[in-house]
């Protein structure tokens, strides 16, 4: 879509400007990729070579792939990985379904206070979680949920403002005739939501899944507050504990960091267009 819409320039001037733009883009892209290249290089370095400076980037000898295995075995990272995956999946699942339900209410039902409540919901997005964290912590303490995964999962069942917002915007673009027709055929409200709207919302749902996944995968504050025992650690905590113990083993730290980033990278590369679509739903209008 990008290539089709841009303004064509005529003649030689166009060529010159094209070369210029290309050079600028390639330069910027290199700058963007350089830290990652550096990270990979450090992760592959033998221990006594991480301080070689520029020579590291120019001379790719002395590689040691075993850093990955060493780092991964130094802590129960397998367990951390599984914990993170399970907490993330459950959280994403709960958040997406609940948000889709709420978004349906906001988008399709006319009731007094709809707009005001919607604006109220949007405004809660600007509240840093540190503002509410102590009472919420105490609430979970009363429930005896400290050092369980529940504080990381259960709140997702109430939907998340940003997801509700995206889904609501998307539903607004869908024609009303379909759900009205379904209701005339005797479908209940929930039936219409489940049978008609959810299938239509699939692209937007995927977008929400991806945003939510990345947020939850990288979450630090939640695990930091609620998880105490090591066997319940997520990758964020595991990585911090690893650095606490192995502060000087840069090659292993970078290796572990790369593995931690990997699922987000894979997700990004396989579902890139849903990211972009999500930004376009959210970024325009209102």
């Amino acid at each position: 879509m990008a290539d089709a819409m841009t303004v064509p320039l005529p003649g030689r001037r166009a060529l010159a400007s094209r070369v210029l733009v290309w050079t600028a883009l390639i330069l910027l892209a290199s700058i963007f990729m350089l830290p990652f290249l550096w990270m990979i290089r450090i992760a592959l370095s033998e221990a006594d070579r991480v301080d070689l400076g520029l020579r590291l980037l120019l001379d790719w000898s002395g590689l040691d792939i075993r850093n990955f295995a060493r780092a991964w075995q130094a802590q129960p990272f397998n367990r951390f990985f599984l914990n993170t995956l399970a907490v993330t999946l459950l959280g994403v699942g709960g958040e997406v379904l609940a948000s889709a339900l709420v978004a349906y209410g906001f988008a399709r039902m006319r009731f007094p206070g709809n707009r005001a409540l919607f604006l109220l919901m949007l405004s809660t997005m600007m509240l840093p979680s540190q503002v509410t964290m102590i009472p919420v912590f105490m609430l979970f303490r009363k429930l005896e949920w400290i050092d369980t995964f529940k504080p990381l999962i259960v709140p997702s069942l109430f939907g998340a403002p940003f997801s509700i917002f995206l889904l609501r915007q998307f539903i607004m673009t869908l024609p009303r005739d379909l759900d009205e027709a379904a209701e005339l055929d005797g479908c209940s409200v929930l039936g219409t939501w489940w049978r008609i709207l959810l299938p239509l919302m699939k692209p937007a749902m995927l977008t929400v899944v991806i945003f939510s996944f990345i947020g939850r995968w990288n979450d630090l504050l939640g695990p930091l507050l609620y998880l105490n025992s090591q066997e319940k650690f997520t990758l964020s905590l595991g990585l911090m504990a690893f650095r606490g113990l192995y502060s000087t083993a840069w090659n292993q730290l970078m290796a572990a960091s790369i593995v931690v980033m990997l699922p987000c990278l894979v997700l990004f590369f396989t579902a890139q267009r849903y990211f972009i679509q999500g930004l376009l739903i959210g970024g325009l209008k209102e």
Binding site: A47, D48, R49, V50, D51, R79, L82, N83, L85, A86, L89, L90, G93, F137, F140, R141, E144, I146, D147, L225, Y226, N228, S229, Q230, E231, K232, A241, F242, G244, L245, Y246, S247, T248, A249, W250
Partner: protein, 444 residues
């Protein structure tokens, strides 16, 4: 590929992903089941330290569970750095372990908040252990407002670790118990240098880790024994801090804070990083003051000959001693089983093991003065001097608000010692003391 086929494949992929997700979650749920047989009490033991210490703890707990079949202990292991913070969060969250261990410095802080169970009756009624089995100075260190809140785990003093090879190579003598700071400074100028010729100093004589040490050695008590107010800004304190700063900027035998930070972060070859303590095995620092807990790690990590001795004496002959103890958390539901565990850890079986490990002085006096501790294979070759420390010195600093106080003084010391935006010693200490005293008055 026809679009119909593609659609069907993508449908399959979606189902496969869903099934996979359910499998992951299902498997993960089975992992979280505890397995405690009926009639057995499970204790949670909050613990931290190096991987070497973890290995030792596992040996100890296996023996404990063998001799106490009705108790099972779940070891909750945290890497050292943030352990106290973690423990505080657990207490605030109502999720504290039953037993833990803790250094003497912060002990009062937890005791003052009512986090621990008083143990004096349990100890008095115990058939196996007596108060007199331990060093009195250590029992004092865990007694707060008349109640005993912990049994001594071990006793450690801050001793000077030194790198024999590096000193000999630089033509300097080995430090001994007669050394003063003048000796350290004199020989330090010879030892501190650029060993690889890249124009930057990479070997320092000394790494000052305990700023309060210099205050005590200059006759400043940090807290006034009568009023409890912070007095680091008195002339003796200013002299102490000036001395501490001169080690870096006048005598050039110690790294600047930035150099310390980046030296730590650029160690490279260290494989069990312990922050600043890694600079010794890495050869960046030739003399390092530290307690004996690092001995097992240094035995493994140091590729050179090393030994320990007393930290040089200042204007006053004062040394830092400290220790650690096992308290029982007030939130516990099993105080009697927790006492069994604490008693076992402070008792002869574990303390014999500790004596052999050489990472600390056993808490039981009889064992500390036995060949078991004294005649271990080196390094360190010298160790008898450590025992004398416990008869001569007291444990300090101890304070109910030590954590918060050290955060304040640490911040001001950092500024005083920095080469970027520094503040002079005297105004710096004055502001630090004022801030500490404001904190102490506010009771918040």
């Amino acid at each position: 590929m026809t679009s119909d086929l593609r659609e069907r494949l993508s449908l399959w992929a979606q189902w496969a992903l869903l099934v996979l997700a359910i499998l992951v979650i299902g498997y993960w749920l089975t992992l979280s089941r505890p397995d405690v047989p009926p009639g057995v009490i499970q204790l949670r033991f909050g613990n931290f330290g190096t991987p070497e210490q973890l290995a030792q703890e596992k040996v100890i707990l296996a023996e404990f569970e063998r001799t106490h079949p009705h108790i099972k202990v779940k070891l909750e292991w945290v890497s050292a750095g943030n352990y106290l913070l973690k423990l505080k969060t657990q207490i605030a969250g109502g999720n504290a372990p039953d037993v833990t261990w803790m250094g003497s410095g912060v002990f009062y802080e937890f005791a003052a908040k009512g986090a621990f169970l008083p143990l004096e009756t349990l100890l008095a009624n115990d058939p196996d252990l007596k108060r007199d089995d331990f060093y009195p100075t250590m029992i004092d260190a865990y007694t707060y407002k008349g109640h005993l809140y912990g049994l001594p785990k071990d006793n450690t003093g801050t001793v000077l670790f030194y790198n024999i090879d590096a000193l000999e190579k630089a033509g300097a003598p080995l430090p001994d118990e007669t050394w003063t700071w003048d000796d350290m400074i004199r020989w330090g100028q010879q030892v501190t240098r650029d060993t690889n010729g890249d124009g930057r100093i990479d070997q320092f004589m000394y790494l000052p880790l305990w700023d309060y040490l210099h205050f005590y050695q200059h006759g400043n008590p940090v807290f006034d024994p009568q009023t409890g107010r912070c007095v680091i800004d008195q002339p003796s304190g200013v002299a102490a801090m000036q001395f501490r700063r001169d080690l870096v900027y006048k005598h050039h035998i110690a790294p600047r804070p930035l150099e310390t930070a980046t030296l730590i972060a650029s160690g490279g070859s260290g494989d069990a990083g312990m922050g600043a303590f890694d600079l010794f095995p890495l050869g960046r620092v030739v003399c390092l003051p530290c307690n004996m807990a690092v001995v097992p790690y240094y035995r493994k990590a140091c590729k050179f000959r090393w030994d320990i001795t007393k930290v040089p004496r200042g204007p006053l002959d004062v040394q830092l001693i400290d220790g650690a103890a096992y308290p029982i958390l007030a939130q516990t539901k099993h105080p009697h089983e927790a006492w069994e565990l604490v008693k076992f850890y402070s008792g002869p079986w574990v303390q014999t093991l500790r004596a052999k490990a050489g990472d600390s002085v056993p808490s039981l006096r009889a064992l500390a003065n036995s060949p078991l501790f004294l005649d271990q294979p080196p390094p360190p070759a010298h160790r008898a001097f450590v025992l004398n420390l416990f008869d001569r010195y007291h444990v300090f600093p101890q304070h109910e608000r030590l954590g918060a106080i050290e955060q304040i003084t640490g911040r001001w010391f950092e500024r005083i010692l920095s080469d970027e935006n520094p503040i002079d010693v005297e105004p710096g200490l004055r502001q630090a003391a004022a801030e500490v005293n404001r904190l102490l008055e506010s009771e918040d």
